[in-house]
C-alpha cells in the first residue's frame, strides 16, 4: 500500500490541550461571541432612515432623464436626429418629427418610457448636441405607469428642476463630454449648418 502524504493541513485552533479543554468546557467561544454582540449594542447603528434623510447622489449618478433646454431659444436643444433612440438598448425612446413652416425639422414629440429604461446613459453618449442628460435625482416613484411615461414637457421640466448650470457643466465635461468633442468640424469640409 502506498503511503499517502497529508497535504491538507488545518491550522491549530488552540495552543495546547489545556486551552482546547478550557474553551470547550467554559464555552469561551460563545462567551466571545456574546461579548461582541454586547459591544455592538453600544455602537451607532449604520441605518440611514431613507425618506427622512436622503443621500446626495454621487457625481456621475445616472438617475431621472431630462431634455436640455437651450437658454437662448427656451426650447429643447434636441434636433430630432434619432441617434439616442437608435442607440437605446431597451428601445424606450420615442421621437416624432415633422416639417415646420420654414421647412425645418421640428421635434413634435419626444417621449421616454422610464419603466423600461435601464439607465445605461448610452443615449447621452450618443447625442451629438448634448441635448439629453441623466440627472442625479433618484426618488421619483409613482403610483401608475402613466405617470412614468415622460413627455417632452415633463423632460424639459426635469431639466429646469434638477440641473443647474454648474451641474450641467460637470456632467458633460467630466462624464459624457469627451465623446462629443471628438467630432470636430473640418474647416474645409462642407457641412450642414441648418437655418438658425
Amino acid at each position: 500500500m502506498e503511503e499517502y502524504v497529508k497535504i491538507v493541513t488545518r491550522d491549530r485552533l488552540y495552543k495546547d490541550e489545556m486551552e482546547s479543554l478550557m474553551t470547550k468546557f467554559l464555552f469561551l467561544e460563545i462567551v466571545r461571541g456574546m461579548r461582541l454582540t454586547l459591544k455592538t449594542m453600544f455602537k451607532k447603528p449604520v441605518t440611514r432612515r431613507y425618506p427622512k434623510e436622503k443621500r446626495q447622489a454621487k457625481p456621475g449618478f445616472r438617475g431621472l432623464h431630462a431634455l436640455v433646454r437651450n437658454p437662448e431659444t427656451g426650447n429643447a436643444k434636441c434636433v430630432g436626429c434619432g441617434l439616442c433612440a437608435a442607440m437605446c438598448p431597451s428601445k424606450c425612446i420615442y421621437i416624432y418629427t415633422r416639417e415646420g413652416d420654414n421647412h425645418e425639422k421640428v421635434v413634435e414629440r419626444y417621449e421616454i418610457e422610464v419603466l423600461r429604461c435601464v439607465y445605461c446613459s448610452l443615449c447621452v453618449e450618443a447625442c451629438p448636441f448634448q441635448a439629453i442628460a441623466l440627472t442625479e435625482t433618484y426618488d421619483y416613484a409613482a403610483f401608475s405607469k402613466q405617470e412614468l411615461f415622460y413627455t417632452k414637457d415633463r423632460l424639459l421640466k426635469n431639466w429646469d428642476d434638477f440641473m443647474t448650470e454648474e451641474k450641467k457643466k460637470r456632467y458633460f465635461e467630466s462624464f459624457w463630454g469627451p465623446k462629443t468633442s471628438f467630432f470636430r468640424e473640418n474647416e474645409s469640409q462642407a457641412t450642414f449648418k441648418g437655418k438658425s
Binding site: 460563545i30 461571541g33 456574546m34 461582541l36 454582540t37 454586547l38 455592538t40 449594542m41 453600544f42 455602537k43 451607532k44 447603528p45 449604520v46 441605518t47 432612515r49
Partner: protein, 333 residues
C-alpha cells in the same frame, strides 16, 4: 361573606397579574426588537410614537383587525382550540409564581411541579396547531416541538431537583425563604451545574433561539403557526412570551434568590433594604429576559440532531451528576 371576600381578593390579584404580564408581553416584543436591532447595528422600531414606543399598540391593533384566515382542509375544531390551549397553559402557570413576599394568586405546595406540568401542556397547543393546519411546514414544526419539549422537559425537571433537595420543598415561597437563609444568599452558586442546565433547557423549552427549531424561519416558513393569522397568531406569540417570562421568573425564584437580596450585600449597603422586594424581582426578571435576547442575537440555530444530542448526551447526565453531588453534600452537611 368570608368566602366572597377571599374570592374577590383572588379575582383582583388575577386582574393585576394578567394585566401587568400582558403589558410586559407587549413591551417584551418591543424591547426584543430594539435590543436585537442595536446588537446588529440597526435601530429597531422607531416610527410609531417617540422612539417607536407605541409599536406594540400598533401591532396589537393590527393583529385584531387582520383577516382571520382558516385553511380549507384544516381540522377546524382543533385549529380553533390549539391557540387557546397554548395561551391557557402559559397563563395558568402564572398563578403559582410569587412576585414578591406574600403576593401569589394560589400558594400551593407543588408550585414547581405545576409550572413544569403547564409548560409541557403548552406543547399540546403547538402539536395540535401543527396537526390541524394540514400543512407540511406546520406539521414538521409541531413534530419538532413535541420531540424538543419532551426531551428538554426531562433535563429541566432534573435541574430543579438540586434546588428542591437544598430547600426541602416544592413550594416556591419556601424555596426563596430557604435561599435567603443559605450561605451564598442564592442558589446559583452552589447549584452552578443545575443553573447552567436550567438556562439551556429553559431556552429550549420556550422554543426560543438558538433552539427555535419548531418555528425555524429559514426552513419551515413560520413553523407550527405558519397557517395562523390575525388574533390567533397573536395568541401564539403571547404564549411564547409568557412562557419566556415564566421560565425567567422560575430562574429568578429558584436560583437568583427571588425578591430577596443576599444578606452580605445588605450588610455592605444597608440602604438597599428599603427597596421593595418586587423591584428586585423585576430587575432580576429583566436581566433574565435580556439574556434571552442576547443569546438570540448571538447564536445561530442548532441543527436538529445537535439539539437532541445536546439534550440527551450532555444536559441530562449533567443534571444527574448535579443531583448526585447535591445529595451527597446534603447527606454530609
Amino acid at each position: 361573606m368570608e368566602l366572597l371576600w377571599e374570592i374577590s381578593i383572588i379575582v383582583i390579584k388575577i386582574v393585576v397579574v394578567v394585566s401587568v404580564v400582558m403589558f410586559h408581553v407587549a413591551y417584551a416584543t418591543y424591547f426584543e426588537r430594539k435590543v436585537i436591532g442595536r446588537m446588529q447595528m440597526r435601530m429597531g422600531p422607531k416610527e410609531v410614537g417617540p422612539l417607536g414606543i407605541l409599536q406594540p399598540v400598533a401591532d396589537g391593533i393590527k393583529s385584531f383587525f387582520k383577516e382571520d384566515i382558516i385553511p380549507l382542509n384544516s381540522d377546524k375544531p382543533v385549529f380553533y382550540l390549539a391557540p387557546v390551549i397554548s395561551i391557557m397553559a402559559a397563563m395558568s402557570a402564572l398563578a403559582v409564581i410569587p412576585f414578591f413576599d406574600g403576593f401569589i394568586i394560589s400558594n400551593i405546595n407543588l408550585g414547581i411541579l405545576f409550572i413544569l406540568a403547564m409548560s409541557s401542556l403548552g406543547a399540546y397547543g403547538i402539536v395540535l396547531a401543527g396537526w390541524a393546519s394540514n400543512s407540511k411546514y406546520a406539521f414538521l414544526g409541531g413534530l419538532r416541538s413535541a420531540a424538543q419539549v419532551i426531551s428538554y422537559e426531562v433535563s429541566l425537571g432534573l435541574s430543579l431537583v438540586g434546588v428542591m433537595l437544598l430547600a426541602g420543598s416544592f413550594n416556591l415561597n419556601d424555596i426563596v425563604e430557604a435561599q435567603s437563609s443559605s450561605v451564598f444568599g442564592f442558589y446559583a452558586i452552589p447549584q452552578i451545574l443545575g443553573f447552567f442546565v436550567f438556562i439551556v433547557s429553559a431556552v429550549a423549552e420556550t422554543n426560543r433561539p438558538p433552539f427555535d427549531l419548531p418555528e425555524a424561519e429559514s426552513e419551515l416558513v413560520a413553523g407550527y403557526f405558519a397557517e395562523y393569522s390575525g388574533f390567533r397568531f397573536a395568541l401564539f406569540m403571547a404564549a411564547e412570551y409568557i412562557g419566556m417570562i415564566i421560565m425567567s421568573s422560575l430562574a429568578v425564584l429558584c436560583f437568583l434568590g427571588g425578591w430577596t437580596v443576599p444578606y452580605y450585600v445588605l450588610y455592605l449597603f444597608p440602604f438597599l433594604g428599603a427597596v421593595p422586594g418586587v423591584v428586585w424581582f423585576i430587575l432580576k426578571l429583566y436581566a433574565c429576559i435580556f439574556f434571552y435576547y442576547w443569546i438570540r442575537a448571538t447564536l445561530p440555530r442548532f441543527r436538529y440532531d445537535q439539539l437532541m444530542a445536546l439534550g440527551w448526551k450532555l444536559l441530562i447526565p449533567l443534571s444527574l451528576l448535579n443531583i448526585l453531588i447535591t445529595g451527597i453534600a446534603k447527606l454530609i452537611i
